[in-house]
């Protein structure tokens, strides 16, 4: 579904991503781990077509991000890191805008879509409120709602549970897991237990390089008995690793 091949991204003289390659198939939930500034968000932004790579390619469903950005964008639901939106719009206004921009037309179809994601993301109680008045948790869920609105085959979620309380985190994880069957999902996170809870693959990236690409079980087996946090610390504190 998603093929990333030797991706490189330079910001001026800084190399943020230095030759990242991996594949994600339908049914996969890929946990993207790494310290801040490791290149996670940059890689995700390239896959969504928002940033152009300096070198290498990324493709979604056979469409190259550079050549067919619009086709790629149609197939992706993306939750940006900042869960950015338009603060003065109400939740309903915002989601209808996204639905229209995604090419849905006709009030009936749009309403059906909105009703679906509003229930899934538990936004009923705030649907008529301006986004700027919402708490971080709700804003995050609005971001998630816009990402899944068009039922995309690929989901790219940049820290989807960031800012949520433990119950909401659980809720969002369940939601992601339930959608996984017929989607390819990449999510970045700092919370290692999250990877254990929902992902079937782990990629650890540091300084723009993929250090680890394996299953959570293999990842845990690296240091039996140790907490997953420790393994992560060991990996990312060293310069280079296998």
């Amino acid at each position: 579904m998603i093929v990333v091949d030797k991706l490189v991204k330079d910001y001026g003289s800084l190399r943020a991503v230095a030759g990242v390659s991996f594949k994600v198939e339908k049914g996969d939930i890929l946990g993207f781990l790494g310290p801040n500034g490791a290149g996670k968000s940059t890689t995700m932004k390239i896959i969504t077509g928002y940033l152009a790579p300096t070198d290498g390619t990324a493709s979604v469903d056979g469409y190259d991000v550079n050549e067919d950005p619009i086709e790629v964008k149609r197939r992706i639901g993306y939750l940006p890191e900042s869960s950015a939106s338009y603060p003065e719009m109400t939740v309903l206004e915002f989601l209808s805008y996204v639905a229209e921009a995604r090419g849905f037309n006709g009030a009936e179809e749009i309403n059906k879509r909105l009703a679906d994601v509003i229930v899934k993301c538990h936004l009923q109680s705030v649907q008529n409120r301006a986004i700027e008045t919402l708490s971080k948790g709700y804003r995050q869920r609005v971001g998630l709602a816009q990402a899944i609105l068009h039922d995309p085959p690929v989901l790219i979620l940049d820290e989807p549970t960031d800012g949520l309380d433990p119950n909401q985190k659980n809720e969002v994880r369940k939601l992601i897991k339930n959608m996984a069957e017929d989607k390819a999902i990449i999510l970045s996170t700092h919370i290692l237990e999250e990877v254990e809870a929902i992902c079937n693959r782990v990629i650890v990236i540091d300084q723009g390089i993929v250090l680890v690409d394996e299953t959570p079980e293999e990842f845990k087996a690296r240091k039996p008995g140790a907490k997953i946090d420790e393994i992560f610390r060991d990996l990312t504190n060293k310069e280079v690793l296998a």
Partner: protein, 239 residues
């Protein structure tokens, strides 16, 4: 281009979702009417809108820079630009949609000053052709100003910088033909330079339209600046 309409609609309604749009419209209206009366709209006893069009370029310069400054810098600052450009929308149609929504907002502001035109028609017997040509000129001038303003906005995250840069750029291209400046440099500057400045000046070309002459040169100058600014705007955003 199919996704043009949702963005256009969202942007245009966006001006009226917060008080900002109303405040800008009211301020613009009070300022234009205030200056028209200050310039003896009634006392001059002329059935035309010359008092309005005399000040309008200078008011538009500020008003449009204030309207255009947030177009892209706000999206960049808040990060919503990421959302916009991960929707299946091309950069060109997003630029055009936002630009035309802002232009529609400016057109609403210009329409409000029709009160003066109707007053003139009620009190006297004005030449509607000249008045409408003046409005066409105002709209073309606005279109070019807004293109420049949108371009400035796309180059920075900071609305204040976008605002100041837009005013400076619009001012520079407008003042070129102002009489005071021409008189001043007349003594030492070569004629070619003066011709160049006056031919390029928004002010001179605008004045041509306000006296009822719809000249191809004037129209194409504004069109050229608008299209060039938007094209650069698209290039900047694609980077």
């Amino acid at each position: 281009m199919k996704q043009f309409l949702p963005v256009f609609k969202k942007e245009l309604f966006g001006y009226f979702r917060s008080p900002v749009g109303y405040v800008i419209l009211i301020a613009f209206h009070l300022l234009t009417l205030g200056l028209a009366f200050y310039a003896n709209f009634y006392e001059s006893r002329q059935a035309n809108l010359s008092v309005l069009f005399r000040f309008l370029p200078w008011i538009l310069l500020v008003f449009i820079s204030a309207t255009g400054m947030r177009l892209w810098s706000e999206e960049k600052r808040s990060g919503s630009i990421e959302l916009l450009f991960t929707l299946p929308i091309s950069v060109a149609s997003a630029v055009l949609a936002k630009y035309l929504a802002a232009l529609a907002f400016v057109a609403i502001a210009l329409l409000l000053t029709f009160s003066l035109a109707f007053t003139t028609a009620y009190l006297g017997n004005p030449d509607w052709g000249v008045m409408l040509s003046g409005y066409l000129g105002s709209l073309l001038l606005s279109a070019a100003f807004l293109g420049i303003s949108s371009l400035c906005s796309s180059a920075t995250k900071n609305q204040v910088i976008a605002f100041v840069a837009s005013i400076a750029a619009c001012f520079a291209i407008t003042i070129g033909g102002a009489q005071g400046l021409i008189d001043y440099i007349d003594d030492f500057a070569p004629t070619a330079l003066i011709d160049f400045l006056t031919n390029l000046s928004f002010l001179i070309n605008y004045q041509t339209l306000t006296i009822g002459l719809i000249e191809l040169g004037a129209v194409s100058l504004f069109a050229f600046f608008t299209i060039a600014a938007l094209a650069i705007n698209i290039v900047i955003l694609k980077k």
